[in-house]
């Protein structure tokens, strides 16, 4: 089964001690948009691309450079050497039938690369938020995760587990990924935001802002929003300009 997932690395890189950031395809695509912001703002280099039957195929030219003739597909890995992070950007939903096999393959690939831990960014339906007076962000982490101290200081609200089965409604593959991390004793933190579908780019900015509190990749003394650079592909997200004929 693992041969179904083709990894193509463009250059050799030592990822030991790195943090992997991965989005779950979820309501409002907040995790993916946040990863787009990270890749674009940190000017991350493309390390690898992945072809798998678990991914619905999408293809286009480099979304971060309008002049590029390099192709971008459903799943790609980006690296920032100065900040010790890698981002596995997923641009299409996973096919349920192959999802577990793919996620296991992702985890085993990065475990062999000796990454330190994983942060998964996702979202949940706004109507699922029972504590509306609190922050719309929630977190969930494995017992061996090293972010406990920082999160205690930040006073974040923990994900409420009111059922026997772990669930984040609208959160896509997040919980499945979390279970696989637990099985492999790989430290994993899930950070998610309650939101609704619409223009979710502000949610993505918020997500990166919160991520930066536990994983400081941007200067914390400066305004983070001034350090974030939206990718070129975010233009025309909701169609083209209004035709002049209507006036």
């Amino acid at each position: 089964m693992s041969q179904m997932h083709l990894w193509k690395f463009f250059y050799e890189s030592d990822l030991s001690g790195y943090t992997l950031v991965i989005p779950s395809v979820a309501v409002g695509n907040v995790g993916q948009l946040a990863c787009d912001l990270l890749i674009s703002s940190l000017k991350m280099k493309k390390l690898a691309s992945v072809y798998s039957p678990a991914l619905i195929p999408v293809l286009g030219y480099d979304p971060y450079d309008l002049k590029s003739t390099n192709l971008s597909c459903s799943c790609e890995v980006y690296q920032c050497e100065s900040k010790n992070i890698v981002v596995l950007q997923i641009r299409a939903p996973l096919v349920y039938k192959y999802a577990r096999s793919f996620l296991e393959n992702v985890i085993s690939t990065f475990m062999t690369k000796q990454i330190k831990n994983i942060i998964l960014l996702t979202s949940s339906y706004a109507h699922e938020n029972k504590l509306i007076s609190t922050s719309p962000f929630r977190y969930l982490m494995t017992d061996n995760c090293s972010y406990e101290e920082e999160i205690k200081k930040l006073n974040w609200t923990k994900h409420q587990e009111d059922q026997t089965r772990l669930r984040i409604y609208g959160g896509g593959f997040a919980t499945m990924f979390f279970e696989i991390c637990k099985e492999n004793l790989l430290p994993c933190l899930i950070l998610y935001k309650f939101c609704s579908e619409g223009d979710n780019s502000p949610d993505a900015y918020d997500m990166v802002h919160n991520l930066n509190k536990v994983l400081p990749v941007f200067n914390q003394d400066k305004d983070i929003f001034s350090q974030l650079l939206p990718p070129a592909s975010w233009k025309l997200l909701f169609g083209g300009p209004t035709p002049k004929d209507i006036y």
């Binding site: 695509n29 991914l55 999408v58 293809l59 939903p93 089965r165 592909s233 083209g240 300009p241 035709p243």
Partner: protein
């Protein structure tokens, strides 16, 4: 041409499966698509053309072609054309579930192992084309080229501008070709009406690719007849 008022949702939001409702492994999780006939390829395929969509299928008069394999569930058919100089395969596909795209690409993969060139053609509604320009032609053709095809292709078709993307089987096929460092080109025809049969640009293109020798004068559908006004 005006597209004002048309609701254009990002593609990813239309197709994602709601995993919240998937509690027990679904019964169909192990059912796989399969070819009706055994895949036997014992020669090099010079060109493999994949035509995605009902409209493009109508372009090809399949009565003179040799059907070699089919997957009925996804309306996938492969035909072979023998000429003196070239050995071509034409594959038509239509009305499939996007979630099955990667599985369909897996089925096609054995054919690509013996294939020099792969070219896909897909018609997409003009409303999905993202541009800053106000005046757009009624038909636009754009291309996505694998690294190997970028400098070698004889086609003079501009590359697809970001943030436009391609999805489905053609996207999977070209992604796979790129991963395997092979030649592959995806052509995307943005048209106002995807069911329209008189698109001159497209007819010229298929003629140039030598798929158009079997072009029908017009599709045999009731709406295009003079039965109704």
């Amino acid at each position: 041409m005006s597209l004002f008022g048309e609701v254009v949702e990002p593609i990813s939001r239309n197709i994602w499966e709601d995993w919240d409702e998937i509690i027990i492994e679904r019964d169909d999780s192990n059912s796989k698509l399969h070819w009706d006939n055994e895949v036997v390829i014992n020669k090099t395929i010079d060109s493999f053309y994949l035509l995605d969509g009902k409209y493009l299928k109508q372009f090809v008069n399949t009565t003179h072609l040799q059907l070699i394999n089919t997957v009925k569930e996804v309306n996938l058919n492969i035909y072979e054309i023998h000429t003196h100089t070239h050995n071509k395969y034409i594959c038509t596909i239509m009305d499939y579930n996007l979630i099955l795209s990667s599985e369909i690409v897996q089925l096609l993969q054995p054919y690509f192992e013996f294939c020099k060139n792969v070219l896909t053609v897909q018609c997409i509604s003009m409303s999905e084309y993202r541009t800053n320009q106000l005046n757009i032609q009624p038909c636009l053709i754009r291309g996505i080229y694998t690294s190997k095809a970028l400098n070698t292709s004889e086609l003079d078709i501009p590359k697809l501008e970001q943030p436009n993307i391609l999805s489905g089987v053609p996207a999977g096929v070209i992604t796979l070709r790129q991963h395997l460092d092979q030649m592959g080109i995806a052509l995307i025809c943005y048209v106002e009406y995807t069911e329209d049969y008189q698109i001159e640009e497209l007819q010229k293109l298929l003629h140039k690719l030598e798929i158009g020798s079997n072009i029908q004068k017009g599709p045999s559908i009731v709406l295009n007849s003079n039965l109704y006004i």
